[in-house]
């Protein structure tokens, strides 16, 4: 009701003066009530646009990952009631972590007040407001947000995504053309097709395994599992979710990229209903100086997951107590479809406890690395713990298997996983290695459980037997490795490699006769198997069967002249025979091949010993007590009696 309207009607038939006074009083009153109405009235330009521009537009803009823009009054007005609904249910914005956990970089959740404000606005008819109140749109930062990259790689050829009704996961190996060790401060991932690429899990593979699997599939990429060799580099999480660009780490925290590495990118794609082309690009940013500090990744979780069909409430727990002071930089939860509640806590030495991760309604499609705005101090003795809950009932709409079946730990989508990854910075560089080794022991033990779990479901998968056998060897449990290599031999019908692996494990387990038999089986199938000749030679040497050992070691070299281990074996064989001259010669040949550590040091040590035992060329030999090497005192035939110390 406007002031003019109120003043113009119902005037009494009184004198003009009174009328005018009453009219102006009414005008004044009218003006006052209109002003307060405007103050109470929520408008788009003044009240709603700031909220939408800050929390929605990063994704909801032209060319962004969201399916429609929310950059103008018309665009928002058209969906006003839907916006009320999705903000009330917290479906949007899609920040799944409970607010009381704290703030993470790049997240823009709405407060309760903001959600209520949007509701009030819509209830009032969604008025636009004055144009002058409209704030500017956030700048559209296309291009490289982190600056010009030092290297850009892309998925070539691009991948064609078919119009499937449901999500697709696919792994791509992208070569990284660096020619020397390079230190990387970070990467920027451009999905190429932001509507369709929902998130990316990114790893580094130095072994070429991912590349082989990619090449084996005729189309770009392959469907399947991340190879074990594809890892997070040196304590850094790589990955991408929409709107999230991980800031570059300071140069002293950069990670080392070796030549011959591939970027292994697992894309989660949501088909659109039409054929789509997907060609992501990745920019890499380098540091000229090597890192001074390296983060450590801790994985908590359970690989023994085994959920009965229909179980609506299956719980896993794990914990680890920090043996040194550290800071928490980032957290990444991981599970598949059936997980419901994700919980991570830190309990400090003084008994205080803090929730560091809490998601109530886990959605596999919203995977994210949560980087803390401020690192969290974790003093020595802090206990980090996780607890995940799963629903394997038919009532769980997200259950990928209907009717529900028994679910094991595993990497396929029908399996389940439950990991909570922590990125830590151990304060003291020297203790970092100790912490890293401690964590590795814990993770290897858990990985073994994971393989044993997978073998429950797939007892005839010989690759699983091989993989877990190798883990058992690294964990110092050769007898268990033997058990699994025997299974692998039985399943593969006994390939040369299978027998070789078994022989090696038997050697480490101390069962030399059986080891010899296994290596002979390997050689029967593959007579030119240099490594089998080498290992057989060494076992025979240990059994005192020198002549046979030498024969096999020489065969090993014949089939592979670059086999440093074989030369080393020969060196030891000749030493056993008392021919130290030849022993040193063989050790030299081994060292010429530039073997890696720790083999090179072992060879050098032995070589020094054999040199000492060699017959001297002339003169007396005296041995120095400090073992620094023999000295030769020349006979008095020469005028000086200089002591010559032969160089090593």
């Amino acid at each position: 009701m406007t002031a003019a309207g109120a003043g113009g009607t119902g005037a009494g038939v009184e004198g003009r003066g009174v009328l005018r006074l009453r009219a102006s009083a009414l005008v004044l009153l009218g003006a006052l009530s209109a002003a307060s109405a405007r103050a109470q009235e929520v408008t788009f330009t003044r009240d709603i646009a700031p909220i939408v521009f800050a929390s929605c537009v990063p994704c909801h803009r032209a060319g962004g990952p969201a399916p429609f823009p929310l950059t103008s009054y018309q665009e928002v007005r058209r969906r006003a009631q839907q916006i009320v609904r999705v903000t009330r249910s917290r479906f949007m914005p899609p920040w799944k972590v409970e607010p009381e956990v704290g703030r993470f970089i790049g997240q823009h959740p709405l407060t309760e007040d903001q959600v209520a404000q949007i509701d009030r606005w819509v209830q009032a008819g969604a008025p636009e407001g004055h144009a002058r109140d409209l704030p500017p749109l956030p700048a559209d930062t296309g291009g490289w947000l982190l600056g010009k990259p030092d290297l850009v790689v892309a998925l070539d050829p691009a991948y064609t995504l078919a119009p499937l009704p449901t999500d697709e996961f696919r792994i791509f190996a992208i070569p990284l053309p660096v020619t020397a060790r390079t230190y990387v401060r970070g990467i920027e991932f451009h999905p190429g097709n932001p509507r369709v690429v929902h998130h990316a899990n990114i790893r580094i593979d130095r072994t070429g395994e991912a590349r082989r699997r990619d090449a084996a599939d005729p189309r770009p990429g392959y469907e399947g599992l991340m190879p074990r060799s594809a890892v997070y580099p040196d304590g850094h999480f790589l990955g991408w979710t929409p709107g999230q660009i991980a800031p570059l780490v300071p140069p002293d925290l950069a990670w080392a990229l070796e030549p011959g590495s591939d970027l292994v990118v697992q894309l989660h794609m949501q088909p659109s209903g039409a054929v789509e082309i997907v060609r992501p690009e990745i920019g890499l940013y380098f540091s000229r100086v090597p890192p001074v500090r390296t983060p450590t990744i801790l994985r908590l979780g359970s690989q023994g997951i085994d959920i009965a069909p229909g179980d609506p409430h299956y719980v896993i727990r794990d914990a680890y107590t920090l043996p040194a002071d550290a800071e928490l930089l980032a957290i990444q939860p991981h599970a598949h479809y059936r997980a419901k509640q994700i919980l991570g806590t830190a309990t400090f030495p003084d008994g205080r406890s803090r929730v560091v991760m809490h998601i109530k309604d886990w959605d596999f499609r919203w995977q994210h690395v949560y980087r803390l705005e401020e690192p969290l101090a974790l003093p020595k003795g802090t206990r980090l713990a996780m607890e995940y809950t799963y629903d394997n009932s038919a009532d769980n709409v997200r259950n990928p298997v209907v009717p529900p079946a028994r679910v094991y730990w595993g990497q396929r989508s029908k399996d389940e996983m439950g990991d909570l990854w922590f990125q830590l910075l151990v304060k003291d560089e020297r203790t970092r290695d100790l912490v890293e080794a401690d964590i590795q022991r814990k993770m290897t033990a858990e990985d073994i459980i994971g393989y044993e779990t997978m073998l429950k479901a797939n007892p005839d998968d010989h690759e699983l037997h091989d993989d877990v056998a190798l883990l058992y060897l690294s964990a110092g449990r050769p007898a268990d490795a033997v058990r699994h290599f025997r299974a692998s031999v039985a399943l593969t019908g006994g390939t040369a490699t299978a027998h070789f692996n078994l022989g090696t494990a038997l050697t480490l387990a101390g069962d030399l006769d059986a080891a010899v038999a296994a290596f002979r089986e390997a050689l029967a199938r593959q007579p030119a198997y240099s490594k089998a000749h080498t290992n057989l030679g060494r076992v025979l040497l240990a059994q005192g069967r020198i002549a046979e050992a030498v024969s096999h070691l020489e065969s090993a070299i014949r089939f592979d002249p670059g086999n440093a281990q074989a030369y080393f074996g020969l060196s030891e064989a000749y030493a056993e025979l008392g021919d130290y001259e030849k022993a040193v010669e063989m050790a030299d040949r081994a060292l010429d091949l530039q073997p890696p550590e720790p083999l090179a040091s072992q060879i050098r040590e032995r070589r020094a010993l054999y040199r000492q035992r060699r017959r001297p060329p002339d003169g007396e030999i005296s041995y120095r007590a400090d073992g620094a090497g023999p000295t030769i005192a020349l006979r008095a035939a020469s005028s000086s009696s200089a002591v010559i110390r032969p160089g090593l």
Partner: protein
Amino acid sequence: MVRLAVAALGVALAAQAPITPRHVLGLDGRATNPLAPAPGIAATVLIFTTTDCPIANRYAPEIRRLADVYESRGVRFALVFPVRGDTSEIIRAHLQKFGYALTAVRDTSQELVRLTGAEVTPEAVLTDARGRLVYRGRIDDRYVDFGLDRREPTSRDLERAIQDLLAGRPVAIPRTQAVGCMLADLVK
């Protein structure tokens, strides 16, 4: 009492009246009635959709499948675009991108939305040969809510309704709740 009974009768009669839109446009800009009785047409399926609703778009292969199966049995399919911003040009590009070979009409005054009661996109309406509404609701139950969808639908409700109608049976489930982008703000 009598008034109530008469009112109820009125509602029932309204449900039985053929839907006859007068303001729906074809892509050529001319008025058209996608529900008009025609020889050989046993039923009409309207799919309310927009060009930028991700749920509606993900249903494109399923909509095409239904058309492939049932068009030869006298079921006519039409995509209905109630958002004014979806111009003929935009719609044509959209049809090509999603491989649709279906009739598309523009319901720019949301007349069909009001006449059928459609609430979201995608939403399906099935009418008989005379244009009387016999089913309104979801295409299938894949979507339970935003961000909550099944791997496979367990109930293909539109298809079952079509089958009921073609077999001469009353449609067993004439009404289901569709999930998708809300139309409420378009219809004042």
